[in-house]
C-alpha cells in the first residue's frame, strides 16, 4: 500500500451519479481514480452512487447494495428514472433558450431527470459518520439535492462548464453552500467566481495514469487500420462537439484532399453520413489499455468538445506523444494548449480543417507539439502529485 502524506486516516465518501469501470465520462473517471487512489493510501473510502450506467435512460441496470471495487466500498442506490420526459424536455429547451425558470420549475427540472431518494436517506442518516463527502459533478440530483444535508463536510468538485445549466440558481446555491469547492483548472475556477460567492476553494486538478508501454502497431493490426488517422474519443453527443467534428473532418477532406481517416472510440450513435463512412471508423467502446494504444497510434487527437472542465483525453493523448487539435470554445482546453504548447486550437470548422492539414503536412511540428504536451502532463497531472494535493486539502476534515 502506498503511503499518503497525512498520517490520519479519513473516512470519505464520493457521491457520483454513475460509477464503474465501463462508465464513460470525465468526472466519473476522475471520481473513480481519486477514490481508488485515496483508498490505496490507506483512507476508508466509500462511493455512494446509483444502479444506473446509462446517463440517458437512468435505468437501474446494476444491482443495488454493497460491492467492492478494489479497496473502495461501493454502495449503489436505485434511481427513479424520469416519469415525465415531455416536461423534462420542455424545461431543457427553455434553459437552452435562455428562458428564466422559476424556482419550482428549476427544481422540477432537476427532480424529473432522475432522483435517488434512498441515497438522500443514507446521507441524511449517516452523513456525519464521514469526515468528508465529495460530490461530483455539479449537474445532477445526487449533488443538487444532497449537498445541503451535511454542508460542513461537503466538498464539491463541480466540473463546471460554461453552459446555461451552470447559471441555474440551485447550482449557485450548491457552489456557495459546500464547505469547499475543488476546481480542476484555472478557467473553471474563474467561471466559479462568476457564478457564485465561493466558500473556501482550491485548484486541485486531476490526473491520468501513465501507461508503462504503448502498442501502436498492435492496435493497427487488431483493428485492421492501415491508413494514418486522427482520433476522436469520448461520448458521441451534440454537447461534446461530435457533429462539428464530423462536419469539419468532411469539409477538410473535400477542401484539402486530406490523407487522414478519423477513428472514433467511445459510446453513443455516430450517425456517420454515408458519404464519409469509408473515412470515419467507429471502434466503439475500448478497454483502457487499448485506448492508450489508440492514442499512440494516432497522428493527432481531435478534441471537439466545447464543454470540458479538465479533459482527461488530451492528457492521455499528450502522454502517448500525440499532438492535440482542440476546440477553443472550451476555455479549459485552450488554456491547457496554451500553457503546454502541445496543441493547436480552432475556432470553427474551417480552422479545424487547417489544423488537420498542418498536422498532416508538418510531421516535425507534430512531434514538437507532442513532446511539449507530454512534458506538461508529466510535470503537472500525474496521480501521485494530485493525490498529495487532495490529501493536504482533506487535512482540515479528518
Amino acid at each position: 500500500m502506498a503511503m499518503g502524506i497525512i498520517a490520519a486516516v479519513a473516512k470519505l465518501a464520493f457521491v457520483t451519479p454513475r460509477y464503474g469501470e465501463r462508465v464513460l465520462g470525465g468526472s466519473e473517471s476522475m471520481a473513480r481514480e481519486q477514490a481508488r487512489g485515496l483508498a490505496a493510501r490507506g483512507h476508508q473510502v466509500e462511493v455512494l452512487t446509483t444502479t444506473a450506467s446509462d446517463h440517458h435512460t437512468w435505468a437501474n441496470d446494476l444491482p443495488a447494495g454493497v460491492e467492492e471495487d478494489g479497496a473502495v466500498t461501493v454502495r449503489r442506490f436505485e434511481t427513479v428514472p424520469r416519469s415525465d420526459p415531455v416536461a423534462w424536455a420542455g424545461f431543457e429547451r427553455r434553459i437552452f433558450a435562455g428562458d428564466h425558470l422559476d424556482d419550482a420549475e428549476e427544481l422540477a427540472w432537476i427532480n424529473s431527470r432522475l432522483r435517488v431518494p434512498d441515497l438522500y436517506f443514507h446521507i441524511a442518516g449517516e452523513g456525519r459518520d464521514y469526515d468528508a463527502i465529495i460530490f461530483s459533478p455539479y449537474l445532477f440530483w445526487t449533488t443538487l439535492y444532497c449537498i445541503g444535508l451535511v454542508p460542513e463536510r461537503s466538498i464539491l468538485i463541480p466540473c463546471l462548464h460554461d453552459e446555461p445549466y451552470a447559471t441555474l440558481r440551485s447550482v449557485s446555491a450548491a457552489l456557495a453552500g459546500a464547505a469547499e469547492v475543488w476546481f480542476l483548472s484555472e478557467p473553471e475556477h474563474q467561471l466559479g467566481h462568476r457564478l457564485a460567492p465561493l466558500p473556501r476553494h482550491r485548484l486541485v486538478g486531476s490526473a491520468v495514469h501513465v501507461p508503462d508501454t504503448y502498442d501502436p502497431e498492435g492496435f493497427r493490426e487488431r483493428h485492421g487500420i492501415e491508413r494514418p488517422f486522427v482520433l476522436c474519443a469520448g461520448r458521441r453527443e451534440e454537447g461534446k462537439g461530435w457533429s462539428q467534428a464530423v462536419r469539419g473532418f468532411g469539409a477538410a477532406i473535400v477542401s484539402h484532399g486530406l490523407d487522414l481517416d478519423l477513428v472514433s472510440i467511445g459510446v453513443g450513435d455516430t450517425n456517420i453520413p454515408p458519404v464519409l463512412d469509408r473515412r470515419i471508423i467507429d471502434l466503439g467502446y475500448l478497454e483502457d489499455d487499448e485506448v492508450s494504444n489508440a492514442f499512440a497510434a494516432a497522428e493527432a487527437y481531435l478534441q471537439p468538445s466545447p464543454n470540458e472542465s479538465f479533459s482527461r483525453t488530451i492528457m492521455e493523448s499528450w502522454l502517448a506523444s500525440t499532438p492535440v487539435i482542440a476546440n477553443m470554445g472550451s476555455e479549459v482546453v485552450a488554456w491547457h494548449c496554451e500553457r503546454s504548447g502541445g496543441g493547436l486550437v480552432y475556432g470553427d470548422e474551417i480552422e479545424m480543417g487547417e489544423c488537420l492539414r498542418m498536422i498532416a503536412e508538418a510531421p516535425k511540428l507534430a512531434t514538437e507539439l507532442a513532446a511539449s504536451g507530454r512534458e506538461y502532463v508529466l510535470g503537472n497531472y500525474t496521480w501521485p502529485k494530485i493525490l498529495d494535493g487532495v490529501e493536504r486539502a482533506l487535512e482540515r476534515f479528518s
Binding site: A89, G90, D102, A104, A124, A173, P197, G239, S243, N307
Partner: protein, 287 residues
C-alpha cells in the same frame, strides 16, 4: 417489512418535513423497504400524489394495499385543500380513513402541529381517521396535551410524541463554532461562519420558494440571485440530443403524441392543457 410513508420530506426544509425524515430514517434503520409518496411535487420521494385534496384518497387506497406499515402525515394541502369547507373537511378526512382501511398492516397517523388540521382534531370524520390508526404521532408536547384533552380516552391512548426532527444543513456545527468565537477570533473564522450561514439561508430560501411556488403561476423574482450572470455563448443545439435520445422509442402514434405534448408545453397558452394531459397519463399508468 414494506413501509409506505405518505407526506412531505425536504425540500422545503421545515420542522414538519424534518420530523417526517426522522421517521423515515428510523424505519430505514429497522431494515424496512421504504417507499415515500409525497403530496408535494419535487420534495424527496419515490413517487408523488397526482390528485389534490380529498381525491388523493383514491391514490392512497391503491398505494397502501401492499404495505405492511403505513405512516400518513396530515399537512396543509393533504388530505384537505387549504381552503376546504366544513363539508369538504369531513369528506376529505372520511375518504382518507376509508382509504387506510385497505392497509393490511399497522397505520401511524402523524400530526405535527394543530395548524395542520383545519378546524381542530374533533368531529366524526376525524374520529374515524383516529380510530383507523394504530398510533397517532404528534410533533410536540403541546399538541399531545391538547389532543389528549379533546379526544376520547381510547383514542388518546394511541398518542405518542414523534422523534425530534433531523438536523439538516450546518446548523449544529455553526452554533458550536459561533459559541467559540471570542474577541480574538480571526477574520477567516468569522468569514467562514458568515458564509456558511448565508449559504444555509440561501439554500432554504430557494427550496422553500420552489416548494411553495407549486401553486403560484406568476413568475417570481428572487432578488438575492440577481447577481447570477446570464448564460454565455456557445449554446449547443440540445434539441438534437433530445431527439436522438427519443428516436426509435415507442410506436409512431406514441412518438407523435409526445411531439404534440412537447409542442403544447412550449407555448404558454397550451401549457396547462399539456400538463393536465400528462397528469392524467401518469395517473392512468399508476392504476
Amino acid at each position: 417489512m414494506n413501509a409506505l410513508v405518505i407526506g412531505t420530506l425536504p425540500p422545503p426544509v421545515t420542522e414538519r418535513s424534518r420530523g417526517l425524515l426522522a421517521e423515515v430514517l428510523r424505519l430505514r434503520e429497522k431494515g424496512a423497504t421504504l417507499r415515500v409518496l409525497s403530496p408535494t411535487q419535487n420534495s424527496v420521494a419515490h413517487d408523488y400524489l397526482e390528485l389534490r385534496g380529498a381525491a388523493s384518497a383514491v391514490e392512497v387506497a391503491l398505494a397502501v394495499r401492499k404495505a405492511d406499515f403505513v405512516v400518513v402525515q396530515l399537512e396543509p394541502g393533504f388530505p384537505l385543500e387549504e381552503n376546504a369547507s366544513r363539508a369538504g373537511r369531513a369528506f376529505g378526512l372520511a375518504s382518507l380513513a376509508m382509504a387506510l382501511r385497505n392497509a393490511p398492516g399497522e397505520v401511524v397517523v402523524r400530526l405535527h402541529s394543530l395548524h395542520d388540521l383545519p378546524s381542530g382534531a374533533g368531529g366524526r370524520a376525524a374520529e374515524a381517521l383516529w380510530s383507523r390508526s394504530d398510533r397517532i404521532e404528534v410533533g410536540s408536547g403541546e399538541v399531545l396535551e391538547h389532543l389528549a384533552a379533546s379526544l376520547s380516552p381510547s383514542t388518546a391512548g394511541k398518542l405518542t410524541l414523534a422523534l425530534p426532527p433531523v438536523e439538516i444543513g450546518g446548523g449544529r456545527e455553526a452554533r458550536a463554532a459561533i459559541a467559540e468565537v471570542g474577541a480574538g477570533a480571526g477574520l477567516e473564522a468569522v468569514t467562514a461562519i458568515v458564509r456558511a450561514r448565508a449559504a444555509s439561508d440561501r439554500a432554504s430560501i430557494l427550496a422553500d420558494r420552489a416548494a411553495g411556488a407549486g401553486q403560484v403561476r406568476a413568475r417570481q423574482r428572487v432578488f438575492l440571485w440577481e447577481w447570477a450572470p446570464h448564460p454565455g455563448a456557445g449554446v449547443p443545439a440540445f434539441a438534437d440530443e433530445v431527439h436522438h435520445e427519443r428516436s426509435g422509442q415507442g410506436s409512431t402514434l406514441r412518438r407523435a403524441a409526445r411531439a404534440a405534448l412537447l409542442a403544447a408545453e412550449a407555448r404558454p397558452l397550451t401549457r396547462p392543457l399539456a400538463r393536465s394531459a400528462r397528469t392524467a397519463r401518469r395517473l392512468l399508468a399508476k392504476i
